[in-house]
């Protein structure tokens, strides 16, 4: 079963429009949402969490069609959103008591354990937290009510490498249960490479690529060559390219790479950059 299935999801803001022909998040997986600033990642997440309402299209959550998330749905969805924080004038302990009244399956012991593990002060006001500490508290909340699905928008942004690693470890622990699913967006592609089973790349409001992460390396190759050699390539085989003073880097399907080209180690971030610079997989 799919935890999330969106078909033809559309949202028009005038100066920006999002159209997701098909976004699938299989149950038990971690799906990474990548894309440049303003590509539509946060809009996608806002639509999934019903903070914004789609102009068209359908959303299914665990096989059930939903126009808007109800209380029952939200009870099993943990979230991290851009500019959405617990109350600034509450301590972590008070926030826990409030959440206990909001979530039907709030696990106070788990929350307490996460506060310790993430080094979150219990009696300090939220407004006095650093950005990283705020993010940790929001994650602790998302992980303390026996959620089946986590929808996380940039949860590791502006965190130091140690904290990012700790959070990624916690997310991997979360998905040890095969019913648990994570949809996570991030600019830090190396983080997603570590934990994701699937990658979905959104570019200018459209899904450019959606695939199993391991399959990407098998199917696509980043290769380098001289400018002249790159111009001699069959344009239909060039999926993305980037020119530098020293030559050209080209993204191609593995079977299309000529012998004279030098294959590089696969790198998801570089693939994203090549696609963004005029590439098209379709």
């Amino acid at each position: 079963m799919d935890a999330i299935r969106c078909i033809g999801l559309k949202k028009d803001y005038g100066d920006f429009s999002l159209y997701l022909d098909k976004l699938v998040v299989p149950q038990g997986s971690i799906v990474g949402l990548i894309g440049e600033n303003g590509a539509g990642k946060s809009t996608t997440i806002r639509l999934l969490l019903s903070l914004a309402i789609a102009d068209a299209g359908s959303i299914e959550l665990f096989g059930e069609a939903v126009d808007r998330l109800t209380v029952r749905h939200r009870d099993v969805v943990g979230f991290v959103m851009e500019d959405a924080w617990p109350s600034a004038y509450l301590t972590a302990c008070q926030t826990g008591k409030v959440m206990q009244k909001a979530y039907s399956k709030w696990d106070a012991a788990r929350y307490d354990d996460l506060l310790d593990r993430l080094g979150i002060p219990r009696e300090k006001l939220f407004k006095d937290f650093s950005h990283g500490m705020k993010m940790k508290l929001v994650l602790a909340i998302a992980l303390s009510h026996h959620a089946k699905l986590l929808i996380l928008d940039e949860p590791t942004s502006s965190l130091d490498p140690m904290t990012r690693d700790e959070i990624l470890t916690i997310l991997m622990e979360f998905t040890r249960d095969e019913d648990h699913t994570v949809l996570i967006s991030s600019h830090i592609i190396s983080d997603l490479e570590k934990i994701c089973d699937y990658i979905t790349y959104i570019h200018r409001g459209r899904i450019l690529l959606s695939s199993e992460k391991d399959q990407l390396e098998q199917v696509y190759v980043i290769a380098s060559c001289t400018h002249q050699q790159s111009f001699d390539l069959d344009p239909s085989t060039v999926l993305g390219r980037k020119d530098s003073p020293y030559g050209a880097k080209v993204l191609m399907r593995r079977e299309h790479v000529p012998d004279f080209m030098q294959k590089q180690l696969f790198n998801l971030e570089e693939m994203m950059i090549l696609l963004a610079k005029g590439g098209n997989l379709r």
Binding site: M81, A84, W85, A88, L90, V98, S104
Partner: protein
């Protein structure tokens, strides 16, 4: 909804101690001087308390966070109205206690106390009805212009009436039956609540 009330309670006990002192002082001064203006202001200050929490919610992005929690949007509105009515009840109760204490000490007529209570209830309910939908629809930042435009005339009118009319003698003509007229502000509050729920349901973040 209990989660929301608990959250606002935590915020208010931390942030609104001074406001409560103002309400108590205004109540005592109002009764001692038989000045209806103070009673109206005390009620408005009480009804402003949940508006203050709304401002904090929006300033620190709790208003977006709460939409992700398993809480109905209408409960977000309901909790603010409930809190406002509780705060108004508290200010009315305070005025009643102080007023009747002065009445028992023969310093004020019973009719004056009743009229002050009536003034306080009407001012509070009217302020609540008008301002809450505006702040919910427009947000506190944009809504506060309207908030000022609406509040200043109410408070000023109350002050002017107080100075030009002999409120004490006027209150002698007011009987307990006048509390029946409260049906108008009560209906206004119900309409205001329904409008606020509608705004909240259609709000996008």
């Amino acid at each position: 909804m209990n989660a929301l009330l608990l959250k606002d309670w935590y915020v208010l006990i931390r942030q609104s101690k001074l406001t409560m002192v103002i309400v108590i002082v205004f109540t005592i001064v109002g009764v001692a001087s038989s000045t209806f203006f103070y009673a109206a202001v005390a009620a408005i200050v009480c009804v402003m308390l949940p508006l203050t929490t709304m401002a904090y919610d929006q300033m620190h992005h709790w208003d977006r966070f709460v939409i992700g929690l398993p809480i109905e949007r209408k409960d977000v509105v309901r909790s603010k109205y409930l809190l406002a009515l509780l705060a108004l009840s508290l200010s009315v109760l305070m005025l009643a206690i102080v007023g009747f204490a002065f009445y028992l000490a023969n310093d004020i007529a019973l009719e004056t106390v009743l009229f002050m209570l009536w003034t306080q209830l009407v001012a509070g309910l009217f302020f609540l009805s008008v301002n809450y939908p505006i702040v919910i629809k427009m947000g506190f930042e944009r809504g506060r212009i309207w908030y000022i435009i609406i509040t200043i005339p109410i408070v000023s009118l109350s002050g002017v009436l107080n100075s030009i009319l002999d409120m004490e003698s006027l209150s002698m003509h007011v009987s307990i039956r006048n509390f029946a007229y409260l049906i108008i502000p009560i209906l206004l509050v119900i309409g205001s609540y329904l409008l606020s729920v509608r705004y909240m349901e259609s709000k996008e973040y």
